[in-house]
Each structure stands twice: as structure tokens, then as C-alpha cells.
Symmetry: D2
Subunit: 259 residues, 4 copies
């Protein structure tokens, strides 16, 4: 067991941080940015069990340098208006770290981010409406650690609506299903494993609503961070290796397809 | 029910067709190319239930034009030495057709093709050895249509070895598991659904062995084609749409993230 | 391919048929019994592709003799008030046939039947309310044959409400999710495989509402029957067998645990 | 968070303890009983993180009284020769506790125990041979906590062979796949969730071999115990409840099916 496994979970909360600068009503709800509220919610729940830093789109390399990711056990991702501005090079770097074992928690409109669609292999599209629907989040897997101490249902008085069909691969674990005032439903809490990394998608959190101040939403995000942290042993990228007969432990690097 | 649903399954067998031209021992096993043997195996099993054409890397646009894909219910994919030569534009086109409902059967070294890694979101790497291992393919889901009339186990006297860890998302249905002379195991028959498309990965088939002349292997590939054909109703790409409250059927196109 | 595989699917629609005799308002909706309406809906959709007989609780051996089951490719099950009156011997017989390859479609309050709870291993309990909620049934797996030609959403003007937590094993395929006027959600279309048999659970259909006259509900049930029919090769009960080294095909019967 | 969640995991290791008394060669390998070796392996790995007691078939009520189960976070189960002697009343009690949240780790021939077949709903049969096959256990889900610090592959020099088809529901998480000298394969590490309980099945451990002295096998069992412990909040049996419209939190007891 490495010290990393027993030490606090090192979290990087990534926020696009554009709506907060452009739209006054968003800035009022989140005066320090949505990422600050998300970070507060994680600290509030995990306490000494985590260290949290934030990073935003406008930071150099979006605040996601090789070194920053190497020091991150779990990355949370909120983006919306500027998915296209995220550099492909950074997306590839994050992708590599996830497949190597870094946890990833994707929030709300992050469903359409480059990193999430790359990991899913699908369009990640859905139906939507931002008209103050009430959202009820129901637990369908009560044994899951992400559902621990979460009310059933979790009630969000108003938020944007997301509805099915949500074009994702079938989740490995479906933890939550939401309904909305208008009658739509959504698979709102989903886990996936890719390479050595664990991924949790959680639906709530449009910029127009104070969702990331909601106690229950913060609880779920913190649970998701703790779950996605995995075992945090040395990061390892899956690699094609040749093995001699009878030797199970000494793989040899690939030298090309033709003899 | 459209005529497409009741008519024969329209199959395109795609072959890289390079080993057959470069390596004499491969050409001896597959004088008309590996794709021809795969196509024969599908016809042998599905008979009037299919129409099969072939396409190869060196065809214009790799034989995978927009029109060709629109006329294809299921595409099978074998590539190995020249994954990098497949044009990104064609990969994007195939990806779009799969998400819109075209079936895809990925064979053997196609695990490392651009289209498969794009759909999976992972590295799709594995352990391997080409040393004439015997492969035993065991059915672990006897209810699955792809396992119908397949011996348990299916015995391949010699083929390349592929071993775990195979870096793919957990299959939605695990149909077959292989073991090899050396003791390695592999999830060798896996299904996935992405968008409106169905995907089947089947392991056997290195170019150095006569695997695609094997009666049982041909049976599985044909079963996989029939399964992946899906319902073949009009192809539809998943799209982000806004819905008014109370209107479930008339989505409106997306106009951007900012009000 | 046996003749059974190409011939029509032989369906037995089982109905408890008690509410229809005891409660006048139910008899008005279903003058020939709920089972008759369900049978009509299957015939309406599968036509010559099926032969349908009905059986009820009050028939000798509940109409589910060894011979009747041997001649049944798919059994549908609706029960509610009299689960306890179903003889254990008959439940064991049905269980054996499902594990041997007979398809099973469980409807609505059949969730609490002896056969379904035996197959699931859980309580199969849920939350409920019979207060004329509108039900919206959303497709979350558009590639699934059971969802073929089903409106998205499927709207049922009024029916009983079933809500989560529904105590079942995680479905192997989650096809439909329902929402209700009151805001509850339910995993309303679920598939399971047990032994050599395929099982589909579909939620709608309380006796107090005309749900089994609903065109869309009938479509789903018929799709479920077609899916559950499986390959209908010879029925085979999974059995513990000993195999000598190198002999993969000649299992020997078990003779007990001690040497 | 209750004190139970932060305190050590309370484990009951249940052993049939018959072979050890009847067969001298088993008694030599396990002089204090197989259950003692299993218990030692858990203590060896979890240390202060667990308290372990053992119980056997010949104890009053098999050592599984209501009070004993209420004080157990995770139960491990090894049985073989005397499955039929386990009292149905005790099986029902254990079943109720699992569905209410107690973890369960089923070992080797426990696959055919009353409690496991009841939870699975299938025959749980398989193919087998006790002829000193070498077993290789491969990790196919490297993100899973049960696979943490487990060699890939885990090598057991000799043990009984179990082969597919293993008649269980598709595991929710497939963690390990085994191969054997004879070429058979087996899904040897499987997780299931039933009700509020988590279940782990792990294959190795025939009484004729010293498998439970194997360091790696002990590691996996301990990991399985830690995983199955769940959140250990108050035990709760899933119950059918009626909810008024708009009241999500006050369910009413069921009063019968007829008005």
C-alpha cells in the first residue's frame, strides 16, 4: 500500500468559468465561479479526506498540465459554452491519465465535452429544456457507495431538464434515475470503467440555477469523488505486449505487424 | 415494417488486404484475400438471407463511400498492418453510420483499428503471441443468438494467442471466453451497443492461419452479422434537441449554449 | 434448425382470472378475462408468427401441465390477488422449463408471483399507488428488438403507479423507464437470462384500467414474446457433469461429494 | 455515519466442517478445519480492520442465529458434502439478512449451496474434474477493489477444475476468469447485488488441496470481504409500500390485493 492510498484524495475541480464572467445572473449565484462551489461541496463532505484545487479554461494549458494531472487522483469536469475551446492536446492528456487510472467525475453539460464523448465513443446527445422543472433523483442501486446517505428521492426544486434518449453506452452501474415536472426521465447517475480509470457522470447543475449549493447534490458529488479515486496505486497506461509461452510476467514491446 | 427489414441483410466485408499481397504464406492460405473467405463464410450460413459485397483499403475511399455505407446493413472489419492508412474521414463516416444504426462486426486484429478504438474510447490493447496455440472457445451465454449451433467448446487447432487484460469497456454481453495452450484467457465474443448501432467483436483470425476457412468460426461470424443487423429501419443519427413542456414529439434544433 | 425454430412461436398466456370474476368493474373492462385481451394483443401483432392458447389458475394444474409447458415456447404471466394459491409444484415445473429454455414474459403485478421472485432471488417489492397516474414509458435502449416500432414515449393515460426502489437484480438490459404524474420513476422494461431461458418483465397493466387494450402496450408485449422465444432448440436443463481431461464433450453424471 | 461504519468489519466465516472430520487427508491439510484457515487469511490481510468469528454446520442453528447474523457485516460460506443438511429456516434467515444489507462471500463448492442457488434463481451447476489441474486466475477488471494487489495471473499449482457453462445470472461485475491445465475456463470472480446486499463468488478451494493457505487466494477473499461490507448502515428489508401522491417519504404497509 503506497502512501497515496492512505493519504487524502487529491481532487482537481475543473470549471469552464465563462458563464460566470459573461452572464450577470450566473455571477450572482456563483460569485467565485461554479468551480468554487463544487470544490466547497467536496471539502464540506470529505473534509481531511481530500485536498482540492481548482483549474479553469483560461489557465495556461487549462490548468491541466502533465504535472497537475500526475498529482490528481480525481478530476471533476464542468463545461458548457466553450467545449470547442478545450485544446485537443489537453483532451488527449486527460484521456491518457484516465485510462492510466485517474478518476473522472463529469457534471451536467460536461456530457458534451470532448473528454466525455471521447471516452464514451458516442454522441452523448439528449433532449433538454431550461424551464425550471423540478427534478426528483431516485436511487435504483441502494448498495452503491455513491448512493450512501443520499435522500430517496433527492429533490431539486428547479433545474434544467435533460431527457432520454441519452446517447451513452449502457452504464456499467445505473445508480440514479431522474424525473422532471414535464414527465421526462433521465439516467442521471451512471458509472463507467475505461482502462484503469473509473468515471462517474452526474446530471444536475445548469449554470442558471443554484444547484451546486444544494446539500444533497454536494453529497453525491463527494461520494462520486471518493468512489472514482480507485486504489491510486502507480498510474499505468494499457500497452500491447508480447509474452512467450509459459512466461506470464515479462511482456515485450510491440515491434510492428509484419515479420 | 420497411422492405429493408424483410429483405436480405446487406453485408459489406471490409478487408485490409495487405498481408495477402506482401506475404506469400498468407496468399497461399487466402488466394482471393481474407475478405473473400470471410464473405464466403457468411454466404455459406445465411444463404438467401444476405447479400455480400467486399471492399478493401486500396479501393477509392477504401470502398466505403457515403453511398456504400447507406446501402450496408452490417459492416465487417479486418485490418492489421495498415490501421494508420485508413483515412480519418472514412473512419468518421463509418462511426456516424454505426451510431445511426449500421451494424459492425470487428474481427481479430481489428481490435486496434481506428473505428473500434474510437467506438470503445479505450486503447483496446492486449497481450499476444503467435506461436500456434490451440484455442478453445467456450460459450458463457447459451441463450445468445450468436451462440446458436456453435459447438461448446469451439476448437481451433492453431491460431495467434490473445490474452487479458483486453482494454475494452466491460462488454454488454459476454458470449464467448477463449483459453489457449499457454494458459491465457480472453473475452473473445463481446457485444456492445453505441447510439443506434450494434457491435460484435470476435477474436479468431490471424492472417498466418486458415481460421476463416473454419466451419465453426464462419458460423459465429454469420450469427454475429444476423444479430448486428438490428431492425434496419431508417438510419438516424442521435441529435441534441430541445422539447417544450408537454410536447414529447417535436424536438427543436440546438442554437448554442448562450442565451 | 428444427421445425420448431421456423414454425410459429407457441405462446401460453397465463392469467390468474380472479379480479374479473369478483369485481364487476374489472369484468366490464375485460369481459373475457385479462388473459384474453393479452392473447388478442399478441395475435394482433405476431399474426401467423404465433399460436396462442390461454390458461388460468382454476384450470387443473393451473393449465400448466408438463405436457402444456413442453409445447410452450413462451409463457406470459399475470397474477395479483392469488399468488399464494399457485401450487409450489407448478412453480417448480415452470422454473425448470424456464431454466431449460422456455421464454417467460412477466406482466405488472406478476412481479410478486412465486415464479418471478424465485427466478430473481429478491423480494421484488416496490412502491405503488393506484390513483390514475399518467404513465410515460421512455425507451433507453433504441437498438433493442423489444423497443422496435414503440413510440418514444409510449403514453398510457392512466394506470397504477409503480415506483423505485424496485428490488430486482440489475436488469441485463434496461429497455424502458417509466415516469408517473406524481413524479415517481420505474425500470419498466427489463430483460434477464436464467439458465437457457430468457425473461422479460414489463410493468403496465393493473386490472382497474384498460391497459391491455392499448395498442402500444400490446406491441411491446408481442415484441417481448418474439424476443423471449429464443432459438427454441431442444429444451435442456443445466446439469452438473464431470469431464475427463481432454474430453470436452462427454460429461458424466454426478455421484456425490465424497470419494 | 454510524459507529459500525467506522469500526472493524465483523466477519462470520461459515464452514461445513465435514470433510475435515471424515477424510484424513483433508484433516492433514486443515487440522483446525477449512474455516479456520479462511478466517486466518482474512485476519492476515485486514488486521485491525476486521473481527472474525467462525461457525459450522454442527453448531446449534449452524451458528447462524438471528443474533449472530445481526452482528455480522459479512458472512463467508464454504459447503460441499452436506448442503442438504442446512436447515431451510436458517437459509431463509440468511437470505433475509443478505437482502437487508449483509455482505456474502461464497467460496468454491458453495456454488451449490441452498443460499447461493436461492439468491441466484438458477441451478448454479457447472462442469468439473478433480485431477490436480493448475489454475491461472486472470484479472479482467483491473479497476475493481477486489483485484487490488492481486498478481496477474494468480497461479494456483493444483486444485479442482470448474468449467463453463456455469449456470448463474450474468455477473454484474466479472473480476476474474480462470483457465485450467485441461483448457477449460471459468468465470471465477463474480459480483452480484441482491436487495441491499452485496455478494462475491470466488471459485478456488477444493478440500483436497491446500488452497486456503495460498497467500494470493487469501488476499482475494479479504478484498472480497472488504468490498461486500458495503456501508453497514442500519439493516433494512425491502418492503412493499403505498405512497400518496406528493408524499415521497411516508410509505404505508400493504393491506392486500383486493379493495
Amino acid at each position: 500500500m503506497t502512501s497515496a492510498e492512505t493519504g487524502p484524495v487529491r481532487v482537481t475541480v475543473w470549471g469552464e468559468n465563462r458563464h460566470e464572467q459573461i452572464e450577470e445572473h450566473v455571477a450572482k449565484i456563483y460569485p467565485y465561479g461554479m468551480h468554487a462551489a463544487i470544490a466547497d461541496g467536496i471539502r464540506e463532505n470529505l473534509g481531511d479526506g481530500c485536498t482540492v484545487r481548482t483549474a479553469t479554461l483560461d489557465d495556461p494549458e487549462h490548468g491541466l498540465t502533465e504535472d497537475a494531472l500526475a498529482q490528481t487522483d480525481v478530476l471533476t469536469w464542468w463545461g458548457h459554452a466553450a467545449h470547442a475551446e478545450v485544446a485537443d492536446e489537453v483532451v488527449e492528456r486527460v484521456h491518457r491519465h484516465v485510462l492510466s487510472g485517474m478518476g473522472l467525475v463529469v457534471l451536467h453539460s460536461g456530457h458534451w465535452s470532448k473528454i466525455f464523448t471521447t471516452l464514451m465513443g458516442t454522441t452523448c446527445t439528449l433532449r433538454w429544456r431550461s424551464e425550471h422543472d423540478r427534478e426528483l433523483i431516485w436511487t435504483v442501486d441502494p448498495t452503491h457507495p455513491i448512493a450512501r446517505d443520499v435522500p430517496h428521492p433527492l429533490i431539486i426544486e428547479e433545474d434544467e431538464m435533460y431527457g432520454e434518449f441519452f446517447d451513452i453506452p449502457a452504464p456499467e452501474e445505473l445508480v440514479f434515475i431522474s424525473s422532471f415536472t414535464g414527465g421526462e426521465v433521465f439516467r442521471s447517475g451512471c458509472t463507467f470503467r475505461r482502462g484503469h480509470g473509473k468515471i462517474f457522470y452526474f446530471r444536475p447543475g445548469d449554470q442558471d440555477y443554484p444547484t451546486y449549493h444544494h446539500r444533497g447534490v454536494r453529497k453525491v458529488i463527494a461520494n462520486g469523488v471518493a468512489w472514482a479515486a480507485g486504489d491510486r496505486s502507480a498510474r499505468e497506461y494499457p500497452t500491447l505486449l508480447r509474452y512467450d509461452t509459459g512466461d506470464f510476467f515479462h511482456g515485450q514491446g510491440y515491434r510492428g505487424p509484419l515479420q
